[in-house]
């Protein structure tokens, strides 16, 4: 009996995670925009505006740039698929979603990298100057941010003795004192830097502008319109939702459903929404207070993140 129950439960938890993050991602972006607007003394768009934008894009006509190949329509699918699978297997609402046993840190990091690679190739596909510029910049930042992300999660893996994400979350819950330890705190700072870079927030990229000289992600996806742009936008916001949730759960896992009860699951949903909202609030406040960095000042920030993550590994070794 328990085997079937837990299977049904895992499937429910997995589907719940996907739907939740698909809604949560755009809402978090709306929430951050609202927070920034309020902090700057403006009213701002409603929180659900990103969802409305996606709905609007879905009803538009599909366009295909001349000279572009099959990569252009394929890339949004790859981006959304890799993000969805990463969300499905990560411990977000419950510690053991379906396939949670193979939710290795390397799987998540490289699934995210697959999405970035698909976006960069799509940027180069139409053969325009903007696309190339966006792809080149995004890959440069990715090449510096991705190692920091990997080393930061490895620092936690070493502490937990496993690179399995549910394993890391579970061991963190049994060792609450790790959370305030030097290794975790260093890894947290590194992860926040990486997440800001990977989701294209200030001071790395300004999501609010389409200025040729500075844009990165927006330049890469300039050739998209209509439903494909909707898929890309949804993919990007789900990626943001996943990264925020990972920060929340890796550093403060409490609230996540550990047993197979549906009550715990609903608590997990509430906890995740609350935790990611706090992360979003924090990052929005960072955004309000910072100006965009020059492109060639970014490596210093990202290298700083990388050094912090390496220090997190060393701190974990020294204090064990």
């Amino acid at each position: 009996m328990s085997a079937t129950t837990s299977n049904v439960f895992s499937i429910t938890a997995t589907l719940l995670q996907i739907v939740l993050v698909a809604l949560l991602g755009p809402l978090l972006i709306g929430f951050m925009a609202k927070t920034k607007a309020r902090a700057e003394g403006r009213v701002g768009a409603p929180i659900v505006q990103p969802l409305r934008d996606i709905r609007k894009l879905l009803s538009k006509q599909r366009l295909h740039a001349r000279h572009a190949s099959v990569i252009l329509p394929l890339a949004p699918m790859v981006i959304l698929a890799s993000t969805t699978v990463a969300i499905a297997i990560s411990p977000l609402v419950a510690t053991h979603p379906l396939l949670g046993s193979s939710a290795d840190v390397l799987v998540i990091v490289y699934l995210l990298l697959t999405g970035s690679v698909a976006a960069a190739l799509a940027g180069l596909d139409a053969g325009t100057a903007f696309g190339g510029m966006g792809a080149s910049r995004a890959m440069t930042i990715g090449a510096l941010a991705e190692p920091a992300l990997l080393v930061a999660v490895i620092a936690m893996s070493i502490q937990s003795g496993t690179s399995n994400l549910p394993g890391i979350v579970a061991t963190t819950m049994t060792h609450p004192n790790w959370v305030s330890g030097p290794s975790r705190l260093l890894a947290l700072v590194a992860l926040v830097i990486v997440v800001i870079a990977e989701t294209g927030r200030l001071p790395v990229d300004n999501p609010a502008t389409h200025l040729e000289l500075t844009m990165i992600h927006e330049a890469m996806i300039l050739e998209y319109a209509g439903p494909e742009l909707a898929v890309i936008t949804l993919g990007a916001s789900m990626r943001l939702g996943l990264l925020f949730s990972l920060i929340a759960n890796l550093f403060f896992p409490w609230g996540i459903a550990t047993d197979g009860s549906y009550a715990a699951l609903s608590l997990g949903v509430v906890a995740l929404v609350a935790k990611t909202a706090i992360v979003a609030l924090g990052i929005a406040l960072i955004e309000v207070r910072s100006a965009k960095l020059r492109l060639f000042r970014l490596p210093e920030l990202l290298a700083g993140g990388f050094v912090l993550s390496v220090l997190a590994v060393i701190a974990g070794l020294v204090t064990r």
Binding site: Q61, R62, L63, H64, A65, R66, H67, I71, P73, P76, V78, A81, S82, T84, V85, L99, S101, S102, D104, L106, V107, Y110, L111, L113, T114, S116, V117, A120, L121, G123, L124, A126, G127, T128, A129, F130, G131, G132, S136, R137, T140, G142, A143, L144, P147, L150, V151, I154, G161, T162, S163, N164, L222, E223, G226, P227, V231, F296, I314, L317
Partner: protein, 664 residues
Amino acid sequence: MALLLIGFGLCGLAALSSSLPQRVRVVVASSLGALGCAFAFSAAMGVLVHGGTQSFHSARILPTIGLSLSLDPLGSLFVLASSFVGFAACIYCIGYVRGELRSRTAMSLMMVFILTLLAVPVASSVVSFMFFWELMALSSMLLILTDQRHSGDARSAALWYGVMTQLGAAAILFGLLLLTLHGGGQTFDDLRTHASSLHGAVRSFAFVISLLGFASKAGAVPLHVWLPKAHPEAPSPVSALMSSSMVAMGVYGIIRVGGQLLHGGVVWWWVVVALFGVVSALYGALHATTSTDVKRLLAYSTIDILGLVLVGVGASGALYDTGHPDVAKLALMSALLLVLAHAGFKGALFLSAGSIERSTGTRDLDQLGGLVHRMPVTATVFLISAGSIMAVPTLSGFSSEWLLLQGLLHGFTVTSTSTLIIMLLGVVSLALTGGLTAVAFVKAFGIGFLGQPRSVGADQAHDVTVTMKIAMGLLTVPSIVIGVLPGLVIPLVSRAAGVALSSDLSPVTKGTSLILSQFRGVIKPSLLLIGLLAVMLALWLGSRLLTERRARVVDAWACGRDLQTPRMQYTATSFAEPLQRVFADVLQPQSDLEVTHVAESQYYEQSLTYENQVRDVIEQRGYRPFIDVTLRAGGLARRIQNGSVHRYLAFGFVALLVILVVIA
């Protein structure tokens, strides 16, 4: 063993059949070579599946000393890689051979080269090993020269390669002879039995000196300088073999000599190996991102991947010597799996690079573009293999890097500080090369295959012949098999690793997934793939049902102007420019911008000339001064030898006088 010997025989026959008339030469030689590789493949597979060691000794083939061969699981793994790539390269040759490889010598040498690649990992005595090793070096060096009439760089590349490989071979010979002198005989079994009675210093010296030779073959920085010169200049099937199989022989040598013959040695040996690996991985990845010649890019990425292999081997040795045999075996398995994966994807990439060169006449990425429309099969092969090398989940690079990470991660439990530092550096290099490799291969595929053609050659390109397509397609099979079904390959790799070190670790392979229950590590790539495909299928169906079938084709956005020329696109150079600037301290690029103003006003430019070159710093700083000194010494010597007979007579007379004076 019989199968393997038949395979050798067929390859030998293929080499001889190159003297047939030109019309049939290529087909006969290639088919015989492919058949020989198929036999060798099945022999190696047999040993890997069933275990055991098969031996063969003949006193007749190498007179007075005899030829000793022995096929054990470790050697089999390398034979497996070589024979698979050899098979594909032979098939590729049937369509490829028009220009360079058409000559009798080249075709014959290629078959000899394949034969040696199959023979080096099975040689089981010092003489047999060195015989095949030298034959391998010699045949590949001559193969680099096949196109020397058209490319001046080929001569210089062959010279660099020749010097480096001969110095390396001398070092290996010296090391092995040292062991032979102190051991009972020259077979590997003798060396292994007597190794424990050797003085520690002798063992260390023998290992380090042979390590220099093997590391140079494996393209380890700073002994790598020949590699980015030799790989691009060789004909593409040869570069595929060199990069995927020959370079791996260096790794084989390190594992065989250090791990097996010398029983694992001491920790610091492996620290040195791992440091070679870390430096190579980072240096190779960095140069791959800035290379614009597609084959040079692949050559540097070979240095990068082989660096990661050496990290695995070094970590394994260090862990084994500090008393962690299980983790050590895990690390060694990851290195061997990476060798197999690399053989597949890098072979495929070099063959696709050959197809690009054949169809467009250039391998400069800045001249390519738009090939995805013109060469769809080559583009698909390149994309899958590039995905594999970028470690996209469910492809082979990912499975091997995951295993390497597991090895390093659980290596953090050791207490030895030097080993810990190796683990830390290993993790750092794995992480950094991951990001840089992604840049390099997004650039290679995105600039080379996407966008608009940047030259006439690229515009008029068309896809290659059927045999070439088959060969390229064949080499993507390992990427998918190792990636999606690692459970099938892991038992083979585990058996091969068991030869070099004894451990009771046995990874559980339930179906196709890979479970390291001891280390709480699991990946199920087949299920991940199903998940990915399911989401993509749902999206595709959704777009089919909810939106109109065909998208409207429009011009790309060009700031409102209806003008979109290929020259407006990013090039490979500009794509990598930000990273080149970030890493300017290491790469030391030489850029030059020359502005010519019109005569009337200095505010208007007449012409702009921009030059950008990234040279190999180690070659420039480390090797050039040495070469300059040698050349200067040669120049001085030339003054003595100026061709005048009178002067030579005078020298003879003076020498005679001196001798007479000394004797008297």
